[in-house]
Amino acid sequence: MIWLNQIIQGVLLGGYYALLATGLSLMFGVMRIINLAHGDLAVVGAFLIWWLHDRGHSIAVSLAVGLVAMALLGVVLQRAVLERSLRAGVLVPLLTTFGLAIVIENLLFQKFGADIRSLDIGNLAFDGWKITNEIYVGRLPVLIFVVALAMLGGLQLFLSRAPLGRAMRATAQDPDTAELVGVNARGVYLAAAAIAVATAGLAGAFLGMRATFDAYAGPTQLIFAFEAVVIGGLGSLWGTLFGGIAIGVAQTVGAQFDPQWSILTGHLVFLAVMTLRLIKAAAEGRGGFMAALGMEA
């Protein structure tokens, strides 16, 4: 029964990872940029909302203001750094986003110090439902999972039905031709960046609620997000949910064996999935798991 509890916790954790991974997936899908600063941006969100809350605003207000600010940050980042990086070459975005990650982490440390923080949400952190003696489902994890589902669903709807969403998909598939039928590719990229960074900020807020964060927490979150995206397959938001759940369950089940094994289990599951994909791809005579998934990197 304890295993069932762990699996349930893992699934709920997966919701968080899926939300975290959404921005990474979106940025790659639309702009072909793997943002190595993505985890750090989530942490920026966490700190921002913490800071607003600390100054006396309610969590709700802090979230609202914080997310808008994060969206704006995404726009600024895209304009100032990412646009240029893309034009400069395929590898340059990796170099600049990594450099950005270092800048962000250390600026956060400079401003907020070494203290580990979390967001104070009162009883929400502990409340839950006791289902059996061994299965306890917390309200917060469920809330996060539901919000993650809603966000993913909303984004999926946006991409498939909304004019801007369609324009985004078109730009992702063929930016030159999109321009030729009237789509402002640059504007689309700005919108995608805004959404990506805002969702990262939301994920950061959730991180602060369910766990702790500090200035250097970014890279770990980035790796989890990346693992979720890869396992679930790019191009599918629901795949990202699946990937997030896979990582979440791997971690919680691994923790049951030994707390020290928690994160490592997640990594090993990721590597196992990657290996299987590579074997499959090699068997199909095409190289690279991205190619095997039908997405060109």
């Binding site: 369609r166 324009a167 030729l180 039928v181």
Partner: protein, 241 residues
């Protein structure tokens, strides 16, 4: 009344010059056929006019306004739309979604989804099909319909008949008649000289980036075009200033 005026246009691909000092004007409602061998610069010229390629020097004046430095999507708002070589549909989107993307990016006008289906009835049943699964002819029709959704006053079409079966080409050109009937100015790049002569009111022939022959379709003979096409003519054609 010329709707488009190109003056001393130069365009490069890296160090390679594809368009050399091209000057050209297109009258409102005209149908202009642009012919020439592969590599003559026709595609680059069209793309530069549409904004998909940057001119190295020279001007593109559309409807009296200088659009040379405008990005492609802004030119679409002004009324210039290009149907690119190779159709270039958005492969993972449905046929109808391809049309809808263009609707958002273009202008208001008579071309709407229903009007398009009326004019191109074969497209209606293909609404929900993924663009990548359409046949060559269906893709070409979709590409033209997509461009029409932006309600252009100047429609540029690059190689409408390339790679299509004769029956499909027939249907495409029939649909073009509908377009011309609405008063849209048309510039066509066409490999098939017969087609070009039958549908166009004016012919322009390019060779190595320059215009080497220009004139009305009724006056120019097939022989003249073939000579110009292959660069067999000595001395000036109509287009060199």
């Amino acid at each position: 009344m010329s709707i488009l005026r190109v003056e001393q246009l130069n365009a490069h691909h890296g160090l390679l010059q594809a368009v050399r000092g091209v000057s050209l004007s297109v009258g409102e409602g005209e149908t202009l056929a642009l012919v020439g061998a592969n590599g003559a610069g026709k595609t680059t010229l069209l793309r530069t006019i549409a904004g998909g390629h940057r001119a190295s020097s020279g001007t593109v004046v559309f409807g009296g306004a200088d659009v040379t430095s405008l990005p492609a999507h802004r030119r679409v708002r002004r009324g210039i739309t290009l149907v690119p070589e190779g159709r270039r549909l958005f492969p993972e989107m449905t046929m109808e979604e391809n049309l809808l993307v263009a609707a958002r990016g273009g202008r208001k006008g008579e071309w709407s989804l229903s009007r398009v289906y009326e004019a191109f009835p074969i497209l209606h049943p293909l609404r929900r099909k993924r663009a990548a699964t359409l046949s060559g002819g269906e893709q070409q029709m979709t590409a033209i319909a997509r461009a029409l959704m932006t309600n252009p006053t100047l429609l540029l079409i690059d190689e409408a008949s390339l790679g299509l079966a004769p029956v499909a080409v027939e249907r495409v050109y029939e649909s073009l008649e509908t377009v011309v009937a609405t008063g849209t100015t048309l510039v066509l790049v066409e490999q098939d000289l017969g087609r070009a002569l039958s549908v166009a009111s004016r012919i322009v022939c390019m060779l190595e980036g320059r215009i080497v022959l220009e004139g009305s379709a009724t006056e120019i003979t097939r022989e003249q075009i073939v000579e110009a096409y292959f660069g067999l003519r000595r001395g000036n054609g109509g287009g060199e200033t």
